[in-house]
């Protein structure tokens, strides 16, 4: 310790000066060297809520992985930006056979993967066959969730599969055959899970290999999904340092136009929402998703920032578990619906970005019925209903909400919960036993096993199809809802099979009316989830299903 006290102080001063002077250059390090004006070759840093799991579309279902894959991969079909309307992607056009069992796709010519290999019908069938032949942990629902939701089983035949086969009749024509008709196949193919990967890269970096440890636990070992994702998209993979950043660069020989000026796109995980907002304010990032509605006012008030909203594509609802007495009594359910002031909750905690829901689907989705029964806030009517039904008041009910979770349809569960409980108890008709648990895994576990009477939950659609909403909730008997209503089950089954669009829409509208009369739960909000950007970012088009390419974005 050969230093006199003076030396200690000197060393410390040096360190601080180095740090401080380093900061003198432009504080916002994000936009790097190019200064103002729609300069060429911009860099955009986007704050994500977490690291992607892996960069292989077929093996993920979490939002952050899908966002990254959307930038680097494309499917046969895609959605019109900002809508859920299916438009041509890598397939210029397609024909569907009369019996709805064969889909013929005519592919775009001259498209290459990032590794230079050619995109053709063989590549399309290679991808489909790959998904169909998944085994081991790849069949795990957390991985190939969408294949199982859309196509059902795999080649091992454990569960029946919609997928029959894929043949490349010629270089640019791929024919897909399915075992029975399904109207939602086309919409589903726009999903990120069905984007096309380069067969060459899949094999070279052994995307499907894995090791099985002594107890049969299979874990993937290939480096395709972590270091060499190769698609046809506008951006190419450059580098991924887990926990730090995922860097993608512009694909020089992209087949489509590349309207934006982003050369380097960086996703940086910032788990804490507060830290994300502060990073944006300080200019360390230029945008982030999942904005807490409480911050809408802040962002709109700050002219160096801008707030964009996704069209509503979710529903927040109060679930009624009819297995729990007295929720099996329709009158009680109706009284509850009339005793909750949904408008006040939406106004208070959704900062004007939410609209009161009338049914279990957002308006944009086909099959939305304008004339479903509605339940306006009217405590006297609720009292009347209970009295007519001869129900003793106050009715004992239990009501639960999840802690430490934020969902677009429920940014602050505790705030919603407290307001709703206040409404119920003020009406004098109900005595509420308050319950809560940590979102994952306890709360969801309790809901799925029907341990709660009333509970706060919701759903964000995956693709623009009514089956993905009401189908998922009410097509089969589930402990969470605790009811067995064959009329609803049959209506939804029939609607799903119907291929003619207009009849299909009417059938879903009828189903919605049926559901809202039966009132298995109380939908209360559709939100337009918010994204925040710095003011110099233009062209970002929010989409209901969060399919938002950065290739159209310009940074000035």
């Amino acid at each position: 310790m050969r230093r006199s006290v003076k030396l200690w102080a000197l060393l410390m001063a040096l360190m601080l000066i180095a740090a401080a002077c380093g900061g003198s250059d432009d504080a916002g390090t994000g936009d790097g060297d190019n200064g103002d004006g729609a300069a060429e070759g911009a860099t955009l840093v986007f704050g994500t809520s977490a690291d992607p799991v892996v960069l292989d579309g077929a093996l993920v279902s979490d939002g952050e992985s899908l966002r990254a894959i959307d930038q680097m991969f494309e499917g046969l079909v895609t959605l019109e930006p900002g809508t859920t309307e299916v438009v041509p992607g890598l397939a210029e056009d397609w024909e569907i056979s009369d019996d709805g069992l064969t889909y013929t796709f005519n592919l775009r010519d001259g498209v290459t993967f990032h590794d230079g290999t050619e995109f053709n019908a063989d590549a399309v069938c290679f991808n489909f066959e790959r998904w169909y032949n998944f085994e081991g942990t790849f069949q795990n629902p957390a991985a190939s969730y969408y294949w199982q939701t859309v196509f059902g089983g795999f080649s091992d035949g454990k569960t029946p599969s919609l997928y029959k086969g894929c043949t490349a009749t010629d270089d640019l024509t791929a024919v897909l055959e399915i075992n029975n008709p399904s109207a939602s196949i086309l919409g589903a193919l726009a999903l990120t899970s069905f984007t096309m990967a380069s067969p060459e890269a899949l094999e070279q970096y052994d995307a499907d290999s894995g090791k099985v440890d002594a107890d049969g636990i299979f874990s993937p070992t290939g480096t395709y999904a972590t270091e060499h994702p190769t698609g046809t998209g506008p951006f190419m993979f450059k580098e991924w340092v887990r926990g730090d950043r995922l860097t993608m660069v512009r694909n020089p020989d992209y087949w489509g136009e590349f309207e934006g000026n982003i050369d380097e796109l960086i996703f940086r995980p910032i788990a804490d929402p507060a830290a994300r907002l502060q990073a944006l304010q300080a200019g360390d990032i230029q945008g982030f998703d999942l904005v807490d509605p409480q911050d809408y006012e802040t962002i709109e008030g700050d002219d160096s920032l801008q707030l964009l909203n996704r069209p509503a594509f979710n529903v927040g609802y109060v679930g009624f578990n009819q297995a729990v007495k007295p929720l099996d009594n329709l009158a009680v359910r109706q009284a509850i619906a009339h005793s909750i002031n949904r408008q006040e909750v939406v106004d208070a905690f959704y900062a004007g970005q939410g609209v009161v829901a009338t049914q279990f689907m957002p308006p944009e989705v086909v099959g939305y019925a304008d004339d479903v029964t509605t339940y306006d806030y009217d405590p006297e009517l609720a009292a009347q209903i209970l009295e007519d039904a001869g129900v003793q008041t106050p009715v004992q009910i239990d009501f639960a909400y999840p802690t430490d979770v934020e969902r677009p349809y429920m940014p602050d569960p505790q705030a919603n919960f407290e307001a709703m409980v206040a409404d119920l108890e003020e009406s004098g008709l109900f005595e509420v036993e308050q319950k809560n648990a940590t979102w994952s895994p306890d709360y969801l576990d309790n809901v799925d096993n029907g341990r709660y009477g009333l509970y706060l939950l919701g759903w964000t659609g995956d693709y623009g199809d009514p089956d993905n909403f009401v189908g998922t909730f009410f097509q089969t008997e589930q402990p969470a809802w605790g009811f067995n209503n064959q009329e609803i089950f049959d209506a939804l089954d029939a609607a799903e099979q119907e291929t003619d669009p207009t009849t299909r829409e009417q059938m879903y509208q009828e189903a919605n009316r049926l559901i809202m009369d039966f009132l298995p739960g109380l939908p209360y909000v559709h939100t337009e989830p918010g994204l925040a950007f710095t003011a110099n970012v233009e062209g970002y088009t929010p989409s209901p299903v969060s399919l938002e390419p950065f290739s159209v974005v310009t940074v000035n």
Partner: protein, 298 residues
């Protein structure tokens, strides 16, 4: 004849005071301890008379919902939070909660620690070895992770959180007491008492434990400070007590963390409350340590 000798010389001249009398005397002369005691009594006062001091309940919605609450005003000294509740009363009721948490968790840690420590210290041999290994294991895991683990295990009710925080203090108290007992066991007066046939357990309870208590008391005061911070920290990472609308400082701070820009007061007031209450306990703890330290030079 250094000053210390002179001082000690004089102290002896005044009639010899007992350890406690002497300690109190020293405490009175220690400005830090006095300030600390004032801070603590302020918070105890706030906690006891919260309902009298504040004109609104902590959960009572007085202002408009939503937005970022409103800044401090003449009517609401600390302003309103985003649920439109009077922030001043929430901070005051927060004092009641923090002191409660502090007291309960320290007594949990203290009692379990005392039991473990005295068993280990008194019986020794393999009992001591085993217990000390368990303590080593608990100390090997960073205390905050231990607390997080326990809260996740026991659930996030207020009682469970207090037990979890208390449990992280157990190794500290166990080791302190064991050390005290081992030191006392060899001391002459114990050997003398034992040679006169005094039964072990009575000896342990009447003499050994009371005499090894002073370091434990110092640690208890300091642990009050750690407990308050630890609960606030648990709330900050979203694992604090989860009753809806609970006026817990850490939670209040965490909720407004992202709205520093406009809701700075929503972060400052609970934060400063935590600092002051912890400071109080730390100061008194320091004062006690100096006052009770027998060999202290002037």
């Amino acid at each position: 004849m250094s000053l210390a000798q002179a001082e000690a010389h004089e102290l002896e001249l005044e009639q010899p005071a007992g350890l406690w009398k002497d300690a109190v005397q020293r405490l009175k002369r220690n400005p830090g301890a006095i300030i600390g005691a004032l801070l603590i009594s302020m918070f105890v006062f706030l906690a006891l008379f919260a309902d009298v001091i504040t004109s609104y309940g902590p959960g009572e919605q007085v202002g408009s919902l939503g937005g970022n609450g409103s800044p401090p005003s003449s009517e609401f000294w600390f302003g309103l939070d985003k649920q439109g509740r009077d922030y001043f009363s929430r901070v005051v009721y927060g004092a009641r909660l923090s002191l409660l948490v502090g007291v309960v968790s320290v007594s949990v840690g203290l009692s379990i620690g005392l039991v473990l420590g005295s068993i280990a210290g008194y019986f020794g041999r393999w009992v001591d070895g085993l217990l000390m290994r368990i303590i080593d294991i608990m100390l090997a895991i960073p205390s905050f992770l231990l607390a997080i683990g326990l809260v996740t295990l026991l659930g996030r009710g207020l009682v469970q959180v207090m037990i979890a925080v208390g449990a992280t203090q157990v190794p500290l108290f166990a080791r302190l007491l064991r050390g005290g007992i081992l030191a006392q066991k060899e001391s002459d007066y114990v050997l003398a008492a034992r040679s006169l046939g005094a039964p072990g357990p009575r000896l342990l309870l009447r003499h050994i434990i009371p005499n090894s208590l002073s370091p434990v008391i110092v640690q208890a005061t300091l642990s009050m400070a750690t407990a308050i911070i630890e609960v606030a920290a648990l709330s900050f990472v979203g694992l604090g007590p989860s009753q809806p609308g609970l006026p817990e400082w850490g939670l209040m701070l965490a909720d407004s963390a992202s709205r520093l820009e406009q809701g700075l007061h929503l972060v400052l007031f609970p934060g400063i409350a935590i600092v002051l209450s912890t400071l109080g306990f730390n100061m008194v703890g320091d004062g006690l340590r100096e006052a009770l330290d027998p060999k202290l030079k002037s």
